[in-house]
């Protein structure tokens, strides 16, 4: 998107929220896979690196303010296929690996469920903020104050 609408939707807060929503969805899928494979021999858990994501997000805000394209634009963050793999901005993290069980699996269901809940909470916060932001845009367009 370009022009004035692009300024609203592709940069700044709304774009940041959209990226955050995409990140939590990708992480949700990782955690779901871990839960489903809790008893699969040899399965190693995967997770998304939140620290790395926040670093990229900060950089994208800085790039937005300078009107430059950020790592997100270059990587086309909206495309789910780039969510995986080491080349995409959402990197699978090896940091969260747990102790290996005798069957070569390192999933702890308790920890996965806790992180699933945490991640879903973040998702609902981001979507609520996104909803609020879009209402503000609508209020600006229609000239009517937004209904709560």
């Amino acid at each position: 998107m370009s022009g004035m609408l692009g300024q609203i939707f592709d940069r700044g807060v709304l774009a940041g929220l959209e990226r955050s929503v995409n990140f939590t969805v990708a992480r949700h899928q990782s955690l779901l896979s871990n839960v489903a494979n809790a008893d699969t021999p040899g399965y190693r858990r995967t997770d998304m690196d939140g620290t790395e994501f926040r670093r990229l997000l900060d950089r994208s805000y800085a790039a937005d303010s300078r009107h430059e394209s950020s790592a997100f634009d270059r990587a086309n963050i909206g495309a789910p296929r780039l969510v995986s793999g080491p080349r995409g901005p959402f990197r699978f993290s090896a940091k969260g690996r747990g102790p290996l069980r005798h069957d070569g699996n390192d999933v702890s269901v308790e920890r996965e469920m806790a992180q699933l809940a945490e991640n879903a909470g973040q998702y609902s916060a981001y979507t609520a903020l996104l909803r609020k932001g879009l209402r503000q845009v609508r209020a600006a367009i229609t000239g009517r104050p937004e209904e709560s």
Binding site: H28, S33, A36, A38, D39
Partner: protein, 131 residues
């Protein structure tokens, strides 16, 4: 996002197959006869493996295989199925082990149900963006 429900569904399915196998094992824990011979029931267990499609890594039951561990031999010369040494072979099923496995399968099943509910709540908050 629909794929997410499928991941959890695969977990439910795999654990249900495991639960069925455990039920078979327990039900046949004393089955020792087939066609008039002393052929004990052999314990079976499912093999779980990863089914990857894109980023999603679901679980699947690759096969249900027989446990090759030896049968339990009991000395019972009066038994109609006893062999020349007076021994009767019993299934290689340990009921306590099956009970422990059953608790594990149950726990994993419930974890997948909860994960599915979390996904559903994310669906509805996504729909509220436009409300």
């Amino acid at each position: 996002m629909l794929g997410n429900l499928e991941i959890s569904a695969s977990g439910l399915e795999a654990n249900r197959v495991w639960m069925n196998t455990i039920a078979e094992n327990i039900a046949n824990a004393s089955t020792i006869e087939k066609d008039g011979q002393n052929v004990p029931y052999r314990r079976r267990e499912p093999i779980f493996s990863v089914r990857q499609s894109g980023n999603a890594r679901a679980v699947q039951v690759k096969a249900v295989v027989e446990d090759p561990s030896p049968f339990r031999l009991e000395h019972d010369p009066g038994h109609p199925l006893a062999n020349d040494q007076g021994k009767v072979a019993y299934p290689n099923v340990l009921v306590i082990q099956e009970m422990v496995d059953m608790m594990m399968a149950n726990r994993s099943y419930e974890a997948n149900v909860t994960a599915m509910e979390v996904t559903k709540s994310m669906f509805s908050s996504a729909l509220r963006i436009l409300a």
